[in-house]
C-alpha cells in the first residue's frame, strides 16, 4: 500500500512533457510580432491605390510595372546584381583558402587573426563605411562600382570563412591521404577529393556573401556617389522622398529573393553535414580488427 502511494506521488509529480501553455502563448505572440510586418508588406505591393492604405482598395500589378518600367529602378537592380556576383566570386576566392589554413594549420597569433577576419561582422558598419569613404575620397574612387565591390568584399568574407570552416571541421583527412598515397598530386587531390565534399559549404558561403552585398546600404550610402546607385541606395532615397507602393513591390521581390537564396544556403549547409557524416572512413574498433585476423 505504501508502495502504491509512493507510485501515486511520483505519478502526480511527473512533469508535463514540453513547455507549458503560458510560455507557449507568449512565444507565439513574439513570433507573430516577428513575421507580421513582413507579411503586411506583401499584400500592399499588389494594391490598386496610390497610398499605403490597408486593406488595399483593389488588386493590381501597377507597382511592379512601375518598378520594371523605370530605368532608374532597373539600373539600380542590375548594378546590385553585378556587384553582388563579383563580391561573391572575390570573397570566395579569398575566404575559402583562408578557411583551409585556419582550420588545418596551427601558427602563432591564429586566434587574433580569426578575430580580425571575423571583425567586419561585429564592428559597427558606420565606422567601416566612413573609413572606406574617406579612403576612396582621397583616391577619387567615390561613385566607382569596382570600389563598391572591393568594400563589400571586406564585409562579405567572414561569411565565406565561417561556412567553409564549418564544413572543414570533422572532414576526414585520411581520404586525402589515401588519394595522395595512390599517387595523386596535392592539386588533383584537392579538386577530386576535398572540393566535392566541402562544395556545399563553399556554395553556402558564396550565397551569404552575395546576399550581404546585395542588401548592403550603409557603405553604399557613402561610396556610391551619384553614379553607382545600388538597389538598397535607390530604395533609401525613395523611402525618404516618395512613399508610394513601388517600394512595397521592390520589398516583396527582395523578401522572396533573399528567402529563396537563404533557404538554398541552409539546405546546402544541412546537405554538407550529411555528406560529411557519410563520407567518413569507418573507425574499426580494435576487437573487430582482431576478429579479421
Amino acid at each position: 500500500m505504501s508502495r502504491d502511494r509512493a507510485r501515486g506521488t511520483i505519478r502526480r509529480a511527473r512533469p508535463r512533457s514540453g513547455p507549458g501553455l503560458g510560455v507557449s502563448s507568449i512565444a507565439a505572440l513574439v513570433l507573430l510580432y516577428l513575421v507580421f510586418p513582413i507579411l503586411v508588406v506583401i499584400p500592399l505591393s499588389f494594391s490598386a491605390g496610390t497610398y499605403l492604405s490597408f486593406p488595399p482598395p483593389g488588386f493590381s500589378l501597377r507597382w511592379y510595372e512601375n518598378f520594371l518600367g523605370r530605368s532608374d529602378w532597373l539600373g539600380a537592380a542590375s548594378l546590385s546584381l553585378w556587384i553582388g556576383a563579383a563580391v561573391m566570386v572575390l570573397a570566395t576566392a579569398l575566404g575559402a583558402p583562408a578557411a583551409l589554413a585556419l582550420v588545418r594549420t596551427d601558427f602563432r597569433g591564429k586566434d587574433l587573426l580569426i578575430g580580425f577576419i571575423i571583425s567586419p561582422l561585429i564592428a559597427p558598419v558606420i565606422i567601416v563605411a566612413i573609413g572606406i569613404y574617406f579612403f576612396y575620397a582621397r583616391l577619387g574612387l567615390v561613385g566607382n562600382p569596382f570600389a563598391l565591390v572591393i568594400a563589400h568584399t571586406c564585409l562579405a568574407v567572414p561569411f565565406v570563412v565561417i561556412n567553409v570552416s564549418a564544413t572543414l571541421q570533422g572532414f576526414d583527412e585520411r581520404l586525402e591521404q589515401a588519394a595522395m598515397n595512390l599517387g595523386a598530386t596535392p592539386w588533383r587531390t584537392f579538386w577530386q577529393v576535398t572540393f566535392p565534399i566541402i562544395r556545399p559549404g563553399v556554395l553556402a558561403g558564396a550565397l551569404f556573401a552575395f546576399i550581404s552585398s546585395f542588401d548592403e546600404l550603409v557603405v553604399a550610402l557613402f561610396v556610391s556617389g551619384t553614379s553607382a546607385v545600388t538597389l538598397p541606395r535607390k530604395m533609401w532615397e525613395s523611402i525618404r522622398f516618395e512613399i508610394d507602393p513601388t517600394i512595397a513591390a521592390v520589398s516583396t521581390i527582395l523578401i522572396v529573393l533573399t528567402g529563396v537564396l537563404f533557404l538554398g544556403a541552409e539546405l546546402l549547409r544541412r546537405r554538407s553535414e550529411r555528406l560529411r557524416a557519410a563520407v567518413v572512413l569507418p573507425d574499426l574498433p580494435a576487437k573487430d580488427a582482431r576478429r579479421g585476423v
Binding site: 512565444a27 516577428l34 513582413i38 499605403l52 583558402p97 589554413a101 588545418r104 579612403f135 546600404l217 530604395m235
Partner: protein, 288 residues
C-alpha cells in the same frame, strides 16, 4: 587503440593545407579594411594638426553628450526587451520536437534574412498616420484621431527590437537545446515550482546563451544607423546618425572622433563580456 586512430595522426607536411593560404585574405583586409579604418581614426587626433580638440568638443558639448547617453540607453533598453521577448521563444523552440521547431524556426529566420531596410520600411508602413496600427486603434475606439507613432522613440524601440530579436533568439536557442531535459524534469519531480526551475536550473545553465545574445544585440544596437534614421524623430539622434550628419557637413575629423568613441564603447563592452560567462563557446556554437 584502433588502427584507424593511428592513421589519423597525419604528418604536417602531407596535409593539404599551408598557413600561407591565409595570406591573400590578410593582405586584402589590411589594405582595404584595416588601413582605411585606422587612417580614419588617426584623423580624429591629427587634423587640423596634432590635437585633442575634436574629443574636447565632443565631451564638453551637452548636445553630443546627450547623444552618447541616448545611444547607450536605447541599446540597453533594446537589449533587455529582446532578452525578455526572445527567451520564451528560444525556450519553446528548444523544448518541442525537432520537426516542429525546424518549422517554427523559419518564422525567426525569414525576418532575420530580410534586409534591414525592408523591415524598417515595413514598420514605417505599420506605424504611419494611415498605418494599420492607427486604423486598428481607431476601429476599436481606443483613439479618436490618428496618433503620431512614426518618428518617435516608440517607433525606434519597436523596430530595433524587431530587427535584433533573432540575434538574441539564435544563441539562446542553441544553448537551451544543449541542456539535458532530464535536469529540468528532475527539478520538477523534486517539487520545484516552475519559477524555481527557471531560476535555479534553466537560467544558470542558459547563461552563456543569455550573455552571448545580449552582447550581440547591445553592440549591434550601439552602431544602428538605418532604423533610427528612418523611424526616429529629431530627438532620437543616435551616434551613428550623428556621424553620418557630420560627414555630410564635411566635419570629417569630428566625425572620426565620434567613430573612435563608438568603437571604443563597442570594444569595451565586448572585452568586458567576452571574458565572462562562456560567451566564446556560445558564439562559437552559433557561428558553427
Amino acid at each position: 587503440m584502433s588502427i584507424s586512430q593511428v592513421g589519423r595522426k597525419t604528418p604536417a607536411r602531407t596535409r593539404l593545407s599551408h598557413p600561407a593560404l591565409v595570406l591573400p585574405l590578410l593582405v586584402y583586409l589590411t589594405a582595404f579594411y584595416a588601413y582605411p579604418v585606422a587612417a580614419m581614426m588617426l584623423r580624429s587626433v591629427a587634423e587640423p594638426g596634432w590635437t585633442l580638440e575634436n574629443f574636447r568638443r565632443l565631451f564638453e558639448n551637452p548636445v553630443y553628450l546627450h547623444v552618447l547617453w541616448l545611444t547607450f540607453r536605447v541599446a540597453a533598453i533594446v537589449t533587455i526587451a529582446a532578452l525578455l521577448l526572445g527567451f520564451p521563444v528560444a525556450y519553446v523552440l528548444a523544448r518541442i520536437d525537432r520537426a516542429k521547431s525546424n518549422l517554427l524556426m523559419m518564422l525567426v529566420l525569414l525576418p532575420f534574412w530580410t534586409s534591414i531596410l525592408v523591415r524598417t520600411y515595413a514598420w514605417m508602413v505599420l506605424l504611419g498616420r494611415q498605418g494599420i496600427v492607427n486604423q486598428f486603434l481607431l476601429a476599436i475606439g481606443a483613439i479618436d484621431a490618428p496618433v503620431q507613432l512614426l518618428n518617435t522613440s516608440f517607433a525606434v524601440y519597436v523596430a530595433m527590437v524587431h530587427i535584433l530579436l533573432p540575434f538574441m533568439i539564435l544563441p539562446l536557442y542553441s544553448v537551451i537545446r544543449g541542456i539535458d531535459g532530464n535536469l529540468l524534469r528532475a527539478a520538477e519531480g523534486l517539487g520545484a515550482t516552475p519559477i524555481g526551475v527557471f531560476r535555479q536550473v534553466l537560467l544558470p545553465l542558459a547563461l552563456p546563451g543569455v550573455s552571448a545574445g545580449c552582447l550581440l544585440v547591445f553592440i549591434l544596437a550601439l552602431g544602428f544607423f538605418i532604423t533610427p534614421a528612418l523611424v526616429g524623430g529629431p530627438r532620437d539622434l543616435m551616434i551613428a546618425v550623428l556621424i553620418q550628419q557630420q560627414v555630410e557637413l564635411f566635419n570629417w575629423p569630428f566625425a572620426s572622433a565620434l567613430a573612435v568613441v563608438l568603437l571604443a564603447a563597442a570594444l569595451l563592452v565586448f572585452g568586458g563580456f567576452a571574458r565572462t560567462l562562456g560567451v566564446r563557446e556560445a558564439l562559437g556554437r552559433v557561428s558553427r
